[in-house]
Symmetry: C2
DNA sequence: GGATCTTTCTAAACCGTTTTAGCTGATCCT
DNA sequence: AGGATCAGCTAAAACGGTTTAGAAAGATCC
């Protein structure tokens, strides 16, 4: 009585066998309504909650999802995506009695170890983010037999479902907006090109440029940090021909870029237009408020969690397509000087 | 052979009993060097890794720590503390074979449920952040018998160790800097007052004001979001006497405040000095670069994880005191107009 | 009215570790 | 030489659930 009650205590109190209690608790047929009520009463009186460890051992399910992040700590310092993303995941899985197991690793080698450990009875499935070119993880995960969901689709055919958010419409709208304003030299500051979404945004940008009959603009590969954004901006601004607009792959780099522009005595948007990506919380409150492309990290987290949950429930899951990011017009863009 | 090898497979291959294998793997005495080598060889050949679930069940340890965050999703959107904090925790616990279990909950009621669930065989200990006034969690946790570490000390005497970072020196240095520049009306925009660290910073600010013989300045309670920071700033600026400097409880509010000041045609730092808190990644790259007080979230995470690990190892842990946040002078402060 | 199905429930096996109790044979001590 | 001690190992009992095989009791069928 002093220590935590077990299923045997419940069985004893309800005058049934352990098996009956297990059936009753898992809503399985084979228990009469009366007995079920008696069992639930005993559960309630004893304050019984099943031990996850025992459940995990006998049913070989862990009731946890895994998320492995391969990032250097400094890249996490101001990350605007993961906190809301994780919150979205949590909101969906917590009511289902599951929890999220997090792993931060510094590089790809550690990443592989982390997934292997997670596969070894720590989680029932994983959400794979930051898909890279020739990403080894889908193969690794199917090899490990670990159910998974990816954020965006890595390559054409894989037995892993993807939860996709198309960034083409957002980037296109942004580019059309700039081109409509009369911009002809539109630069792009992206993230590391190994990431698929970085490359995708870059392609949309290049396509829009070409479609408007404009010459290919300068592309700079930065690292998603404020420091990187400032550095890339400085580089774009150091020699003519100067771009009249810059599209960034996230708001953090855009904000830092905007500051860099100001520091050089140029004015946003008068001398240079700036567009970010993600619509982070601060962006609406910068000076000037940042025009950006909104992505719904929270909703993405929810969708990914739902897809993984459905997969574990045995449903045949296909790719999920979320509403594309929308272009949010604020005040960091104007006609070129 | 097809499925994952168990400890019995290893025992069979090495020609010993399961017990011997367990002893060898856990570096326990009672196994000769020769036998140990034979066992380790078998482990290697079979690629054996012990099942966490079975381990958890028989040793009643879960090899995971828990972290429960009671925040509304919008407060997480731009949070600069948790990503590096969690990264710090991870860096310490991963080599020890442990992982982090995360829970996001919307309010205090859900919080209690979350801790109770975690206590029930899901984690070996928790890190408690965002300590509030009359926080019910320390009592809850000691009641649940769940080892814990708090970030900063809630009240005087509790059997829970705290990992503390003193913000007094940083705030004091900031205030001395402002007062030295000649400021006499220094406002403070804090976070929700139920948080102990909010109250602590507010007290330091008030004390410094009093120590300099200045009248108590206006305090505004905001919510740590950019929107809240902008709103509070607007309120401070709407009626004279205007403050000549504002100290914010985080960089996000400070950044939004700075933009709000600019929007009103005032110039930072010429017309108004601004100081933030935390030194988030963007702050050094704002225009002007934000003067702030640096807190080491990553180091805090490491220290908290170490303390919890030590506690689980049976060590008598006392409070840990981390280096205080340092004042980082940049360009958002100047003499009052 | 007996054979056959269902339904409801029990007993026991099982999941893969850790841990305890106890069994060996060698060594030490007097 | 013979008992105590010890390291090195084995066998088996936990840990707390799930799951399977099968028993007991009613309901159904011809």
């Amino acid at each position: 009585m002093a220590s935590k009650p077990t299923i045997s205590d419940v069985a004893l109190r309800a005058g049934v066998s352990k098996g009956a209690v297990s059936f009753a608790l898992n809503n399985r047929p084979g228990v009469s309504a009366g007995t079920r009520a008696r069992i639930l009463l005993a559960v309630d009186e004893l304050g019984f909650t099943p031990s996850r460890a025992a459940r995990a051992l006998s049913s070989s399910r862990t009731f946890a999802f895994g998320l492995v992040l391969a990032r250097r700590p400094e890249m996490l310092r101001a990350d605007a995506f993961f906190p809301p993303f994780i919150a979205g995941v949590e909101q969906v899985i917590a009511p289902a009695g599951m929890s999220l197991m997090l792993r931060f690793v510094p590089d790809a080698a550690a990443e592989k170890v982390a997934y292997t450990e997670l596969a070894n009875g720590r989680v029932d499935g994983v959400i794979v983010t930051d898909i890279r070119r020739r990403d080894p993880r889908p193969a690794l995960l199917t090899g490990l037999g670990l159910p998974a969901v990816t954020l965006n689709r890595p390559t054409k055919r894989l037995p892993i479902a993807a939860v996709c958010m198309d960034d083409a419409p957002g980037v296109l709208a942004a580019m059309e907006h700039l081109i409509g304003l009369g911009h002809r030299r539109i630069a792009h500051v992206g993230g590391p090109r190994r990431y698929l979404h970085v490359d995708s945004r870059r392609r949309q940008w290049a396509t829009a440029l070409a479609a408007a009959g404009l010459p290919p603009g300068p592309f700079l590969e930065a690292d998603f940090t404020a420091a990187g954004g400032a550095r890339a901006t400085a580089q774009l601004l150091q020699a003519p021909p100067l771009p009249t607009a810059i599209l960034y792959a996230n708001d953090l780099m855009a904000a830092a870029g905007m500051a860099e522009v100001s520091r050089r005595g140029l004015r946003v948007p008068h001398d240079l237009s700036i567009i970010g990506f993600d619509d982070s919380e601060l962006s609406a409150y910068l000076h000037p408020p940042l025009t950006t492309i909104r992505t719904d990290a929270f909703g993405w987290g929810q969708a990914a969690a739902k897809a993984l949950l459905a997969q574990l429930a045995g449903e045949q899951v296909t790719d999920v397509h979320l509403p594309a990011g929308v272009f949010v017009l604020r005040e960091s863009t104007a006609s070129p000087p």
